[in-house]
Structure formats: structure tokens, C-alpha cells
Assembly symmetry: C2
Homo-oligomer: 550 residues x 2
Amino acid sequence: MTVTTTDLFATHEELLNSALRAITERGYWSAYPESPSPKVYGETAAADGKAAFTALLGKDFPLDQPADEWVSPERSPFGIPLGVRYPRTSPDALIAAAKAALPSWRDAGPQQRAGVCLEILSRLHRRVFELANAVHATTGQAFVMAFQAGGPHALDRALEAVAYGYAEQTRQVGSVVWTKKADTLAKTYHLVPRGIGLVIGCNTFPTWNSWPGLFASLITGNPVLVKPHPGAVLPLAITVQVAREVLAEAGLDPNTVQLAVDTREAPVAKDLALRPEIRLIDFTGSTAFGDWLEDSARQAQVYTEKAGVNTVVVDSTDDFAGMCRNLGFSLTLYSGQMCTTPQNLLIPAGGIETEAGHKSFDEVVDGIAGAVRAITADPAKAVEFTGAIVNDDVVERIAAARKMGDVVLDSAELAHPAYADAVVRTPMIVKVTDGYGSECFGPVTFAVPTESTAQSIDIFRETVGEKGAITAAVYSTDEAVLDAVEQAAMEVGVHLSANLTGGIFVNQSAAFSDFHASGANPAANAALTDGAFVASRFRIVQSRRPAAAA
Amino acid sequence: MTVTTTDLFATHEELLNSALRAITERGYWSAYPESPSPKVYGETAAADGKAAFTALLGKDFPLDQPADEWVSPERSPFGIPLGVRYPRTSPDALIAAAKAALPSWRDAGPQQRAGVCLEILSRLHRRVFELANAVHATTGQAFVMAFQAGGPHALDRALEAVAYGYAEQTRQVGSVVWTKKADTLAKTYHLVPRGIGLVIGCNTFPTWNSWPGLFASLITGNPVLVKPHPGAVLPLAITVQVAREVLAEAGLDPNTVQLAVDTREAPVAKDLALRPEIRLIDFTGSTAFGDWLEDSARQAQVYTEKAGVNTVVVDSTDDFAGMCRNLGFSLTLYSGQMCTTPQNLLIPAGGIETEAGHKSFDEVVDGIAGAVRAITADPAKAVEFTGAIVNDDVVERIAAARKMGDVVLDSAELAHPAYADAVVRTPMIVKVTDGYGSECFGPVTFAVPTESTAQSIDIFRETVGEKGAITAAVYSTDEAVLDAVEQAAMEVGVHLSANLTGGIFVNQSAAFSDFHASGANPAANAALTDGAFVASRFRIVQSRRPAAAA
């Protein structure tokens, strides 16, 4: 069945308008239910999604792109046998096809592009359980997290990017009749894309971290090449498949979105990133590669999210148990493999004041360690929070961290009840006095004794100023301390969560309300999502001609 | 008298709201009357402004900045003796003072900053005749042009930048109470400036080209160093003086805006541009220095307007005299020393069709040359259009161009009736078949015979694609040709004017309606003004704390 893009815009216009309101008002709003409950998604949704996922395994992935060869680079952290084969299309072919797709996508205009983008999101949402299985299998995330972060939360972030891009393109009229004294001109404001976008995905959050850049570039008229991390191809292959299907049905060129799969042995990201036709790059991953992109891909606008040193200033609390429980959960979630997981806990060596009296440094660290122990005591339950370890580097980092100081809580290997080959590790907490100034990605937390909260704030300012951070937190009952840390956070440009003791965690950022990364410190040069994330993805090119006065 | 910044916002809020509407609707709108008539500005305004200007000459300019020494780098193209001495403040002192000013300017917030910026514009407007004299004397612009482009049109562009920056900062709420199930958080969205801005002015349009960057950085919370071209300091010295006066009266740090004057012998722009504290640079000038800034000042967001090859495709017309008159005027205005002046006239060698029958190539070029001759026949009238030549390089370029092909219209030296030492040159038109692919800044136009309009469009696409352009024009009675050129203009990213025969010229871009430069071709990486010009000048840094449910 062919749909017209006008139909698609009409279908999704109300959702778009709600999203446009939400990015302005920034209260709680979500377009895609985050509960995987059968009451929400239907009795058979989970089983159907699992079956659809299973049906893809060990086969050629159905994607109509020319293939130099078929590659199968994924290896599941749970040991799930994947064996999906993807067509590897050469960079030349990808770029030629994207160039050919550009004019029709540009000329479609913002309304039609919004219709297509929102239809893609709608169909991805229909396949959300299949996607959740793909995210779970490739990233090592526990299933519920893979469902939420990889499905509804990622869809919300994608919708947010569409809303920002749409708003940016429609903030002025498309044309006007302009009269000054005797002269009347008809003016047209053409929206012109930058060129071809390249989205470079990461292993840990293939959809959540890639979709904003993908949809920000798409809505602003740029064809996009999607280059997944070789460890997490399937979620983005499904994404590209859905996008191409919607484009084709709408009578547009499916090559507006293409998969640029590669392997660890023959990576393609550097080659693509330096092509003159690539004018936009969205990257999530290591600081080394992100810095290389920023320095080298000078022909492109480069949006990066790299590594940072997320820091917690612990000064005092009126809910010691709540603080420990909240931080313990933050450390345990996905075994600390979130870019938002706290790494450094800065705690006065002399201890802190709480509602239950003074707690020594060791008591504070033990309290947090105890919370982690409570969550991870039962392996069968633990794995539903920790998931699995995404790669061998993380395992090695745990071993190295063990030698950095006094191990307060050691990382343990757990057997996964469902997956015999899963690599599962619980969080470790190490008391250190140095070596904590760089990112140690994985289930490693450093407890750092400081002379005082004032010194904690100095260290916070120094480490985040130098190495950046995606998140920061503070616990204090003292308004002056809260203000001082908030002031420092503004100065070093990191988002701050204060006194979280309930069901919200420093790791979490909610689309339409929380900005993710700030672009104001070395951990990232962009934020999800603000005006700056979309405004430079297109240009306005104007034409004017004499006309009859209106 | 001390004013509060709240008063200032209230005073100017209606103007701001009108500007916010104007950037959306983009019909004709201007906040500052462009006619220097006594009916508009009062009977004594012109004489008072002239007297205020004259009173500044040969003296230390009253600016309360620490001076290493006092310098007097200006030399008037009209030979007007200036001799104004400016305090040269060291880069270290400038940066230290700007850093100290940052927190109070940041904390003032967008409303208070808008009030201050609009009060500065209001006071600059009150000194508009003084400014016009300063622009006239330093740039060589004829007085009316110096008044209009240097005064009201520049004020409009500055107000436009304030409006964009204000809109960008207030597109989301400043704070919100967010509730999701049992959790309620109070969230604050802090607007955090990038750092210190550096504005590098040009000799030809010291206010028009510098104010947008200055006010875009200011409104978004960044202190700014204003580095004028050594040839055109006075207009920006007055600007900085007014800004500091308003800041001080409003109880803010005057060092939020500082003058960074230098001399040709000891330039300071490179030194300042590479300082890590400089996070925003706005530059208008040569391609060489603009490219150097883009490549070298990697710590900063760099906004450049450089050189380009402005092109006119002449295909056919139904108003031959109107076309010739319009183009002739465009070439004559400020002796072709506008970044928007056409350089290449692409005309089929076989001639064109007009309402008066076929015109040969030579007849077309003669028609345009005749229009220039008519405007420049009477030297006393001519200088009110041509003004004077801004520097010796332009004079040398005229001599060099004379050897490039057949001189259809030679450039003539004119005696200026008011200024004996003025260097005045009328436009020249040279028929060439090569050498027209790079910018030849000044009163030099190349008439290029092409095989056909189709080839003209190819040449247009090639030269603008390679070297960039700020403007382009087409004359045709054929809708297919107009569409083909518009398509090509979109592809190479240049604004296009079609069939201008009346009182609007390709050189002119009107604030609130026309975008100036596009950022989509090599002539400039930014546009005046769009969302991209302001969105990256600040960041949002968020904080969140548990709160009682709303």
C-alpha cells in the first residue's frame, strides 16, 4: 500500500504538536509507554517480539542494500548465539546513493519529513519487543532496561529531536510578500540540508544514543548513513529497515537512510568521516575517537558524546538509608556501564552528619556498599539489574582497579540463570586517594576521602573541568553547600542532581524535561536535545523576485 | 542616575516583542528610521552629530580602560584628519577583566540582558549622526550610506540578533516542577555562556558587520572584547563607550564590553583569538584570515564572513533600461566595496532577448556601463554614491584588472568637492574570459561572455561552489531559466535576487526579512541572523532537587 506523505503528517500532527509543547514546558511527558506490561502492550506482544527477534538469528538480515559481502560482527555479552548476517555496502556506493537521495528528501520539506519520521517511530514502536530483544542481546542490558531505554525512552528522545528540528525549520514563514514603498518582492526561504549525515553508534545504547542524531539530521533534510558499533548492529539494522520501508511506501528514496555496517577487523568509520560529502557526524563513544573526529572531520559539523568523570559530592543527608539505596542502585544498574553512572564519591575523611547522627567515612562507604550487596545478593535477581559485561576491556578494568586502593566492595562474578555464557560482574567500590581523575568505564566506583566538603567541591570543579562529566550529584542538608555545588556545576557545565533518595536516579535523564549532557564540558560537545543540536544541520537559502503588491 | 535592569526591560519590552514577531513573519519592518531627514530626526540632529564627532578629533577618546599606551591607527579615505587616540589595553588585562565580569552578566539572565542591550541600542540611536560621521570618515562611505548602513540598518541587525538570542534562551521555561508517580523534582535550567566573545571588525562596515556578533554574544551572557579594524576604530569605540556607560548605570560590570584596539604594526587579533578563554569569535574580513581563524581557534565557536564571487546570470529581460540602471547602481554604490556587490556578469556571447529586441553581448555590457556613466558623470553627485576608496590595495587592484581583458568602462579618478585628499575611483568593467574565478574586491566588474545561459549557470555553480558568494542575481523572462538558477543557487547555497529593476538592489539585505550570507558556501560559515547564529553561544546546565508535588 502506498501512503502519501501528506497523510503521514496528518496522522502524526497531534503527536508532533504535543511534543512541541513538551519541549517548551518540560514537565513530565512521554509519548511511548515505558512499561512492558501486557496490560499496556497486549498479551502476546512480548512473545511475538521474542519470536520476531529469534526468526532473524543465523540468517541474512533482510535489507535491500548492495552487498560487497555479508558480515556477522556481533557477539552477545549474554552468549546468545546471534549469527545475523548484514550486507556490507562500500563507502562509495553508500555516498553515491545518499547523494542521489538528497534532492527529493530536501524538497519534501519539513512537514512531509516530519510525517515520515514520525511514521518510522510509530513502526519502530510496533516492533518494540523485537527491538528490546535485539538491544538486550547485543548490549548486555537486562531485559526490562533494554526494553525501556532501548525502546520507549529512545523513541521519546527521537521524537524530541524531530520536534526540535521541526520547530527550528518552521520558526520563520516559508515565504512572504515584502513591500517597501514602491517595491514589492516575493521572497522564498528555502531550507537546505548540510549534506549527508553519518551516525556512529555505540555498543551500550545503540538506539537511545543514535536515534537523536539520526532523526535530527533526517528532519532537517539530510540523508543519513547509520554506522552501528560492530557489537550492536541488529537494533540499528531494524531501524534502517523500518526507515527504508516507510520511505519507499511514501514514494521517497529509501537510500535516504542506509546501513553502513562494518567489522572490528575492517572498520569504516574513519574513512566515511573524512569524505567531503559527509557534513554532519553524530558520535557516541570513546574520548579518543570523539576527539579525533572533532579534530579531523573538519568538513563536517561533529556532535560528540564521549567519556567523563561523573562525580558525587557527599556532604550530609537527612535520609542516610535513602541516599545509600539510591546511590547503590545507580552503581548497580547495567553494572555501571552507563555514561551517566557515578564514578567518584567525594566524601569528607572525617565523615558526614546524618539524621541518625555522625557517620564516619567508612560507614558512609559501607552504607553504599551495603545497598549494592542487597541488590546483588540473589544472583537471579541481581542479573535483572546488572545485565552482562559488554566487552573484555571492562573485565580487565575491574582487575586493574582492584590494585588502585583499598577494595571496600569487591566485584563478584555471577552465574546468569538463563545464559550459561553470560559475563556478569557486580559493582566494586575502591577507596583511593589518586588515579580517580580519568574515566574508568564499568562497575568501578572510587570512594575518595577529602579534607572537607569545600575540598570535595574543589576536586569536583577540577576533575569535571579537565575531563568532563555527563552527570553530577550532591547530597547535603545545607542550603549553602547545595548552592555552592550548583554554582560549581554551572561553572564546569555539568547537570546536577541534588539529594536523590527516591525513585529517580542520577543515571536517568527523561526526554522532554532533562537535557542529557550539556556540551559545556569535555565529556560532550552537544546536548540531547537543545536548539544548538539542530540549528546548524540546515541552512536557509533565500530567493526574491519582484511581485505584485499584496 | 542609576537605572535598574528591570526598568530597562520594561522600557524596551514592546520593541523586543515587535522584533520577535518580525523575525518570524519576515515582512518589511524596521525599528530605526533610515531617513536622515530633519523631519525625522529633528532640525539640529545633523549639526549636533557633526559637532559631537568633531569634538572627538585629535584627542584621547574618553574610555575608562587601562592603557599600556594610547594609539591612533586610523587614516581617513577622505583625508579627514582624525587623530583620535585610544587606550590600548593588554590582552592579559582585557581577558582578566572580562573573566571577572562574566558571573554577574551570566546571572543577570536573559530579560535583564535584553533590557541592557536594547538600552545600548537606544543610546547608540541617539548618537546616530555622530556615528554616521565616524563611519563616513573611517570607511570612505558617502554620508547618506554611512548614516543608513552604519546607523539604522546596523541597529536593526543588532536588534535582530538580540531578538534571536532572547528567543533561543527563552524557548523553554526557566524552571519546572516535574512529577512522575511518587517522585517530584524541582528543575532549574541555567543558561550558561560559552565564555568570552571576541568580535573582529572590518574596515568597510564597522558597525553593520560587528554589531550582530557583539549583541548575539552579549544577549546570551558572554562578555565581549571588541577588536576594531585599525582603520575604523571610532564607530566601535563609541559603541563600547555607550555599552560601558549603560552597564555601569545599571549596576553591572562595565568590563562586560571592552575595546581591544590595535595597530597595523602590532596587531592583536591572532593573540586574542588563540587564548583559551575566548570561546566565541565573530569575524568579517579576508578569506585568508577567516580560514586561519576557523582552522586555528579550535577552542572557540568561530563565525566568519569572508570573500566570495558574487555573480549575475544575465539571460533576458523585459526591461532592459531598468536592468542596466539597477545593475549600474549596484556596481557604483561605495565603489563596489560591499561584500554584496556583483563581480561577475555572465552574459551569452550571442547576446540576449529584451523587450526592445535582441541585444548583443557588447550592447548589454555597454548598457550597464552607460548606467554607471550616468551616475558618475557629475563628480559632485558621483561621490555621494561612490564614496572613497578604503585602502591602497583597492587602487592597485584596479590597475591590475586593467590588464586582465578588454576594458569596456575604465575606472576614473574623481576630485572630491569637499575633501581634497579623498581617493575616489569610479567602477570599471572589464570583458574577460578567465581570471574571474576569485574575488577582486573593489570597483572592478568582469563581463564574461558565455556560450549560453546553460553555460552561465554551470559557471555560476562552479565559481560559487568553489569560492563562495554572498549574493547572486539573475535576469530572465523565462520561468524555466529562473527556476534553473534558483535550483543552482539552492545547491551552492547562495541567496538569489531575480529581475531587480526598481529601487531594491542585490547589494541590499534588510534585517528582519533578508538573511545575509547563508553559511552554506565558502564565503561565510554563518548567516545574519538565524537560529544557528545564536544557539551555540550558550549552554543549558540543569539542576534538579526533590520538591513537594505542585
